[in-house]
């Protein structure tokens, strides 16, 4: 490799952290805003799957809630023409993620599956990533939140319980991805098939507003959904190259 091409490569990686020629899988989610009813089943599914603690009334009042996925609500118009629109918001798994460049200890990085990942035991809690995230989807553990016994018996053994001083966020249920890959390997090292694995929120969504899959597979449900003319990305002008596509709400 010539000096120049090495420089170019380095520059690309600098410009686009987590730079890969092509992702192995390219996990992507679409959210159909026309189907979303704001019921928050996704939030509950996430809380149960990912060992997200309950922080308590006082902490919520200080804006320290932990919600890997949240439902945002925006009012529009005035009575009697007022309307309320909901939008599920979770880590967008940006392929050019601002949070990744800023972490001083590389606790957050992009992996070969196009996921923006967070290594909890590496995190030292500078909270810089949360500042850089334009979607405000990173949540910080200000305390060691306990579980009143025996509530801890529910905890998912596949997910770490994060301690004080650690940043956490949506992982696209990476433990489920890992399990799907594991099962796929059992079957003669085939690839994970479309629909074989879904994050907890997608799995439970009562209106099927959320779709998840591999963008590298042009036939996958999520690829088809992404190509919908209603598809857009939130804050796309920031060039975050996010992996969550929203389908516009239809005003009819």
């Amino acid at each position: 490799m010539s000096l120049f091409s090495r420089f170019l490569d380095g520059w690309r990686k600098y410009r686009k952290p987590g730079y890969y020629e092509k992702f192995d899988y390219h996990w992507t989610m679409t959210v159909d805003l026309d189907k979303c009813t704001g019921c928050e089943a996704c939030m509950m599914a996430c809380q149960a799957e990912n060992n997200i603690p309950v922080v308590g009334e006082d902490e919520v009042a200080r804006g320290r809630e932990l919600q890997w996925i949240r439902v945002e609500r925006y009012w529009e118009g005035e009575y009697p023409n007022a309307r309320l629109r909901f939008m599920p918001m979770m880590c967008q798994h940006c392929d050019a993620a601002p949070c990744e460049t800023v972490c001083p200890v590389s606790a957050t990085y992009h992996n070969q599956d196009g996921l923006n990942t967070q290594i909890y035991n590496r995190c030292i809690g500078t909270r810089s990533c949360a500042v850089y995230c334009p979607y405000e989807v990173r949540y910080f553990n200000y305390y060691d939140h306990g579980w009143d016994s025996p509530l801890e018996q529910q905890l998912n053994p596949d997910v770490t319980v994060r301690g004080k001083g650690v940043m956490e966020k949506c992982t696209f249920c990476i433990q489920r991805i890992r399990q799907a890959k594991d099962l796929a390997k059992d079957d003669d090292r085939r690839r994970v098939q479309d629909g074989e694995m879904q994050p907890a929120c997608v799995q439970t969504c009562p209106t099927k507003a959320l779709v998840f899959g591999d963008r590298n597979d042009p036939e996958s449900q999520v690829s088809l959904s992404m190509d919908d003319p209603r598809s857009y990305r939130v804050l796309d002008e920031l060039n975050t190259d996010s992996s969550v596509f929203y389908l516009k709400k239809v005003d009819a």
Partner: protein, 759 residues
Amino acid sequence: MPNIDRREFLKLVGAGGVSVGAGFMLRESTKHPREYLIPHVVAPEDISSGLSTWYNSVCSMCPAGCGISVRTREGRAKKIEGNLSHPVSQGRLCALGQAGLQALYNPDRLTAPMRRNGEGTFEEITWEQGLKQVGDRLDLLRAAGRGNRVALLTTGVRGHLAQLFESFMRQLGSPRLLHYDYDHPHTLYAANQQFFGEDRLPYYDLQNTRLLLSFGADYLSNWISPVHHSLGFGESRQGPADVRGRFVQIEPRMSISGAAADEWIPARPGTEGILALGLAHHIIAEGNYSGADRDAWMAALADYTADAVAEQTGVPATTITRLADSFVDTAPSLAIGGGSAGNHSNGVDTLVAVNALNYLVGNIGQEGGLVFNPEPAGPALQQHQASYSTMLELAEAAHHGEIDVLIINGTNPVFTLPPTAEFESALAQIPLVVSLSSFLDETTALADVILPSHTYLESWGDDFPEPGVGFSVGAVSQPVVSPLYNTRGTGDIILDLARRMGSSSVMPWQSMEEFLKYGWQRIYQRGDSQTLAQGFDAFWTSVLKAGAWGETKSGNTAFSLNPDVIAGIGVAPPEFSGSEDDYPFILHPYLSPNFHDGRGANLPWMQELPDPMTSIMYGSWVEMNPLTAQQMELSEGDLVDIQSPHGQLRVPVFIYPAIMPNVIAIPIGQGHGEYGRYAKDRGVNPIQILSPQLEPVTGSLASSATRVNVSATGKRVKLVKTGGTSRDLGRNIIQTTGGSGVEVSSVSSNSIPITEVTS
């Protein structure tokens, strides 16, 4: 080392000793803490360490009867998901259903039988003591022929547990078997009985409908079967069909379904039925109905011209005619009614009027309309559902000393009945109140004996969803974990009591599981020859495995309207308690999406789940129109006193852009005085100030018919909520489009933010 005196020497020896110890402990502290590997004594068949086992069961967090799959690891329940093969939930589940895990692992569960002692506090007893005390009393009463002095009050259970309760009470010779749920849609049942002659609810085919008019039914959050409705909503909206389904919601305060709808129409509370008849009138007047009974309809609806209806409902005449026209033009269409629209003094008439709309455009028995359900394959009794009046009668009987024993299962009337019912003092008059609850709720706290039940994740049961999904469905609820505490299944307790009062010849089953298998024999017999050839055990195992049983047998398709119904059509103006001058606002109490009728309030997950519409957690609030609040100089967080003719509450204001100016809304669910650490002393319970206004046909409580007065207190609190700025402010975050893929506009940015968080 010269000249160390004795003193110095001892110092050094001491310091040396301490530091050796410190070094020792330093090393000790770096060691891995001791952990144990505890093996099974005998390896169970269904537990493999490190691997998940899934069990199919039935959700009991609300009456919808969704099928669930529970993931367990090493014998502990980890996650509840919808059961893919169950036709009601189809692999999906709502937030409350998923939070059922915290009912199982709740730290405030009752762990053993208890009895009230001389000092009025509870003391732990053994099961034998508790069952003997209750069983002996029952046996005595039955032997003396006074079994009718026993009452059994349960939440609306279905399936073989309901049948068990029935035979139990038959053995006692008591007619006082009451199913009581605050939100049971009495008026809907009565209206359907009147119009269709069916005592079951029909299946509302949201999935295939292209236009849905919902009169007050919050079908996406609390009405009947929210998960199934949501599935239908999603399919209709952006499903495989080319035409996008359109949803219209008519209600005084925007609910979740109202927010999801394409059009939200506020009609004066209680006039929803009048509006429906206005639509009906227009449909007939425009010649869009050509049935033989057209003239009868015309005569019955003569008064409901668009202008007259507009006057009464506050909905513009043009809207009425437009809705009516599109209801005719769009096929298939569907009108549903319920929720607050059914909880007025004219509730049954209102819902009959909604049925009439479906009749006039031919939606009955049609795909995408309203489909009749077949007779359920197992017991799905609804006739024991107790209305408010029935509960009043029970309370009165207790006050007259006519009740000796009251057994309460899973329902919490002290919380869900207004104090005017005097249920609390009625309980005090009953010599023996037995609660089978898993939690110390308000009613259980007043019991004399507590025989705590398993939660639904530990017990056997079954369910036949009502309403069904157009064909026969049943599901068995099986224990997914072994019982955590010294509790027993409700069915097992009842069977034990039956044995103790000498009814074992009629109720010979040793356990609920045995009784279930006995009952499911009948369903097995309905199977085809192939099923029958495999034998019952194979059938039973397959039902447990799949978590659901069904057969493609549909209900009535033919329907002819009784002509008398037409003549009786008409909706009187709603009656409210309290005069408009003293009480200028109409109170709109609605079931909280998080807590249902209050049963979810003891789950910390649900407490910390933001209310979908307001993002408020942990407390109660009163919703107010921005203009009204402005006139009263109130802003978010201002504490106000809400006064009805029957009580008063103090609660903070939340400015709600989509509520009628003369209506205020308070969610039901908070305001518990008991019910564990997470629920206790949090928020207010609006049921406490409801006036005892009745719907005369069913005797149910017209819970939306209370007038109130609002007065400022000058005090403020900060509402605990997560929502930031409530407006998009031109950031273009939520984008919209005019039609299928054609960009027309993005969200307008000219709105002024009404509520902003001050931080």
